[in-house]
């Protein structure tokens, strides 16, 4: 009981400033109702939220966005992780891929949008391509750095204990690089989520970005804010899901 009480007070303490901000916002709009078309009050936003759920639009858009992000991150991981590990272990691979990657890396994913529309049209594939670019480089570069900076003493100890190439890869290099792989996933996931919204704002017929841009066309500020808040909340949930998986897989790490 006492613990529940303590948790409740802690939650209250953490979110109190946010609640105060929301209350001030609500009061301000109530006092100046003429601005509500530009800045709807929190209660208006909530009403729009309930309305969008009742119509089923919000669920459809969330599903469309999540699907794109999952496909894009899966492809980015499926290419980025193996490529990074191969580059870290093989000098010729490093020689070949490093300059190519360094050339493309500084080009922001959003700069690819026009070309990607020429290639794919306004489609799921076009969106997925942009999100993929957002996730790919952080995953690749973090994993590459992590796998390259493995403490040499582990490699020596493994060779000393007769490690084969397969054993060296799966039992030493892969687990040693795993923390960096998670950093890549979290950074890449964040960039992917931003790229998603940007891509959908410009070119999509579904998804949370599309919901927002529809809100703008219809001059529905409340719908825009529902979209923004949903994007924020899903972003936090995805990141904390990755964090909990990381906590399980990296329980060997000294976290003190």
């Amino acid at each position: 009981m006492k613990n529940t009480y303590r948790t409740a007070t802690n939650v209250l303490k953490t979110y109190l400033p946010l609640m105060i901000a929301v209350i001030v916002w609500e009061l301000y709009v109530r006092i100046h109702p003429e601005i509500s078309i530009f800045l709807p009050s929190p209660s208006d936003v909530f009403a729009a939220f309930v309305d969008l759920i009742a119509k089923g639009t919000l669920q459809t858009d969330i599903y469309a966005s999540l699907k794109r992000v999952f496909i894009a991150i899966s492809v980015a991981g499926a290419i980025g992780y193996p490529l990074a590990l191969v580059m870290a272990m093989s000098k010729p691979a490093q020689w070949f891929f490093e300059p190519i990657i360094n050339f493309f890396r500084p080009i922001p994913p959003l700069a690819w949008i026009p070309l990607s529309i020429v290639w794919f049209g306004i489609s799921d594939s076009q969106n997925i391509f942009i999100i993929f670019l957002g996730a790919f480089f952080p995953i690749l570069l973090n994993t590459y750095e992590g796998a390259r900076s493995i403490n040499d003493i582990y490699i020596r100890a493994a060779r000393n204990l007769g490690a084969t190439r397969i054993s060296m890869f799966f039992r030493i290099i892969l687990p040693a690089a795993l923390p960096a792989m998670f950093v890549g996933l979290r950074v890449g996931g964040g960039v992917a989520w931003m790229a998603l919204v940007a891509g959908e704002l410009v070119a999509a017929s579904s998804g949370l970005g599309h919901l927002i841009s529809q809100g703008r066309l219809l001059f529905k500020s409340d719908q825009i804010i529902v979209g923004m808040v949903t994007i924020g909340i899903i972003g936090i949930l995805l990141d904390s899901a990755v964090l909990s998986i990381q906590r399980i897989l990296l329980r060997w790490k000294d976290t003190r």
Binding site: Y154, R156, R159, N160, L161, G162, A163, S167, R171, W252
Partner: protein, 253 residues
Amino acid sequence: MTKRIIEVRNASKLFKDGRATVHALDAVNISFNEDDFICLVGPSGCGKSTLLNVFAGFEQLDSGQVSMFGSTLQGPSVDRTMVFQEYALFPWMTVYQNIEFGLLHKEGVSASDRADIIKRYLSVIELEVFEHKYPHQLSGGMRQRVAIARALAVDPRLLLMDEPFAALDSFTREKMQDELLRILARENAAVVFVTHSIEEALKLADVIVVMSPRPGRVVKEIRLNSQKPRDLSDPDIVETGRCIRELLHATSS
């Protein structure tokens, strides 16, 4: 009749230190018996760690030859396992998995043999209850006991120890020295043990090899015949210690 396990003939190795070339090892000749505990002592730069790395197969000589039971050393092998100063336990493996690692690469060891061997070593190092813990959950002394068990589990002919207790506090260090003698009493591996500490060498060694720096050379080999565990205040031991100290001072000034 004791057999020679290691023979080092005319071993030389150079290191580039900026523009200067340093003789890490200069024409070193030395040989060890099969059941000896050898301590290499000397100041930093005397080549004792280099020699150990050559035995482990991590480094190559520039000239000369090292052979083990008559055949030239080639690369690392589970015949010669190493205990590192920084423990070098794999942090992502439990105590059990760390000890298991070398056994996975050894031919003719079945899964049930493996389990038996690991259990036996867990009991030798008295860490049975910690078998599922990760290295970061153990104290320094416990980690080094796991590292010793990991190195011995593959049944090596030669155990290489690179200042294994240097990172421990002096109390744990003394305890670990006793532990090591107790553990090794049941093993038939020769030991090459690198240390800075003359006391440590006097306590553990059958043969103390005194080395000098720049160029790295063997100054003297001293065989200690008294029983272990030794009383370091015994007059003979004190005299040997004084002699080693004099040799080291003479070479480093």
